[in-house]
Symmetry: C2
Subunit: 344 residues, 2 copies
């Protein structure tokens, strides 16, 4: 089954419209830029005024058809949304406020125009939600898969930059939201793609997979009130993030499996379908939650933060240790935390 | 024939090494960053201090295997070099000084490790030549072609920004360097790929195709001394650039075919091989020269600029007109300038 809807009777492809017209259409969809955008789409490059007294945070991320998504289980509009959400999550992990984005698309010439438009609409929806302005990009032809490459820029106060470095033994590890939902959503969609058009057994997991919420406001606040000494986002799963954070700081970490916040609906779905919810939570990617480290001296700032951030839970899942080992406490036994997801 | 050299006896692929090791290798090749780079490769995002009193210029460009290049006629090291040169040319067209770049690669898992390393080395060679720092990026697996996506950021004084807009009837049109060389180089390489390893009938054209020189210093100076009222780079050929510049300004342009600077070696090669040199110069892309507009009142600034820029010729090729037509004067006859290259 393919979710691309051609039932409106048109079978136009992107190559029917041509590069200039695609760009024109795209341009017409972009809201007016804020005054600090000096040159937007349509010139050789975009020009923006940097935010006063701030550093510029920049990141790039790609979604590739056949690797990160497949139109048999996700709609084009959600691919567009997710492609920006992934980069926004990187900005959030640095404590940055989103500002501008560039969208580089490699389009198979036979890609239905509808898919292109839906994808751009999804991208712009995410952009609107998180107040980031599309100021430039690139359209190329692809002889293979559709490739969505997203660059995002943000601003962060010079002394508010959150990095992966700064964790010390004794610090506490926190994670936002719930873990394993996106991976469960993907499993459900891969098993029953028709679910996208119907009711589902676990709609929250599907929503989390298709429309992830990058923790932009949380990242900004964590950076601003200095609650955390180090932070990383969970693009490739909790286990991977814990390992990367430990390795960046030359420390160990000990995670308590019972503390890992898993959505009860996901736990139930996993039980019913013979999946191990803990494994899904550790290995499953694309939750786009934040994992951050709170030193004892920042405990008060953290509690203040918790009062401000009511829309997302913040859960203590373990501690930073001085032994260079990443451990998982599970059912009274301690073992090495398995490594995370690797792209190759 | 394939130019990928596996004669060193290793047949390692990028998937043999794996994502983390590829990133580590890449990291080890990057020179120490300048002090205004606060966070570089290895975190969720990079952080840089904006240049004081400057605007940020940003652009993204992609090179895709099978569309923009093919290892049957260009070496991996040159693909890496060109991928950055294309983005640098966009910065130059805005009058910007290059600062930082992000490299997003979609790698087929069977890509020889040698190709990956050569490509990165070529990219870093271009980065060194033009003083731009690689601060971040992304590695993905590709189920299809190799995709090289390059984001580049530069800085430009707030009142020194060069855009495509500003051309007025009566202004003079100038182009830098020589035109049609890169397209001729591509023709030669496609006809005789063995040339890459041998002597060639037109080495300058091949060099121009494989190792283009983005006009970074020229762009900076044109912006700084306000010699030009509008500027664009020639990524898709002269005809395309003239049409785009005319359309951005709601004006016409008249080009004199005799004035177009074509390398005499290219003219000779075209004569010997039954190509029309003028057609190649108008339609052929990837010269990465600058096309800019000099108003009468800026004539003195322009002459001052010409004295400063001795390494590249600046040639008057036509004028801006009030009739909304783009014309070519050729052998005493005036006709519409054919449109440029289109990607779809």
């Amino acid at each position: 089954m393919n979710l691309i809807d051609t039932s409106n009777g048109t079978h136009e492809t992107v190559s029917d419209l041509g590069e200039h017209q695609l760009i024109e259409w795209l341009h017409s969809r972009i809201p007016s830029p804020p005054p600090w955008v000096k040159v937007e789409l349509g010139d050789d490059a975009a020009v923006v005024e940097p935010k006063r007294n701030s550093s510029t945070v920049l990141t790039v991320d790609a979604l590739i058809e056949g690797i990160h998504f497949d139109f048999s289980f996700i709609k084009p509009i959600d691919v567009g949304f997710k492609s920006l959400a992934a980069s926004l999550s990187d900005l959030a992990a640095m404590g940055a406020t989103p500002r501008v984005t560039l969208l580089s698309l490699a389009l198979p010439p036979k890609l239905p125009l509808r898919v292109f438009k839906d994808m751009v609409n999804g991208f712009l929806e995410a952009a609107k939600q998180h107040s980031i302005q599309l100021v430039g990009g690139n359209l190329s032809r692809s002889p293979g898969p559709l490739v969505v490459d997203v660059t995002a820029l943000g601003a962060v106060g010079r002394r508010r930059i959150l990095t992966r470095r700064g964790a010390k033994p004794g610090d506490e590890l926190f994670v936002s939201g719930t873990i394993g939902s996106a991976a469960t959503g993907l499993k459900i969609l891969k098993a029953e793609p028709s679910i996208l058009q119907n009711n589902s057994s676990c709609p929250s997991a599907i929503e989390r997979f298709c429309r992830p919420t990058p923790r932009v406001r949380l990242g900004e606040l964590v950076g601003k009130n200095r609650a955390a000494s180090a932070c990383i986002d969970l693009s490739d799963g909790l286990a991977d993030a814990v390992h990367q954070l430990a390795s960046a700081n030359d420390v160990g970490m000990k995670i308590n499996s019972k503390a890992i916040p898993i959505d009860p609906d996901v736990v139930r779905w996993c039980q019913e379908h013979g999946s191990n919810a803990l494994e899904v939570a550790l290995q499953g990617g694309e939750d786009y939650e934040l994992l951050f480290v709170v030193p004892k001296k920042s405990r008060r700032n953290f509690l203040a933060l918790k009062r401000l951030i009511r829309e997302v839970s913040l859960t203590s899942i373990g501690v930073v240790t001085s032994e260079i080992e990443v451990l998982l406490e599970h059912n009274g036994r301690t073992s090495l935390l398995p490594p995370g997801f690797v792209h190759f």
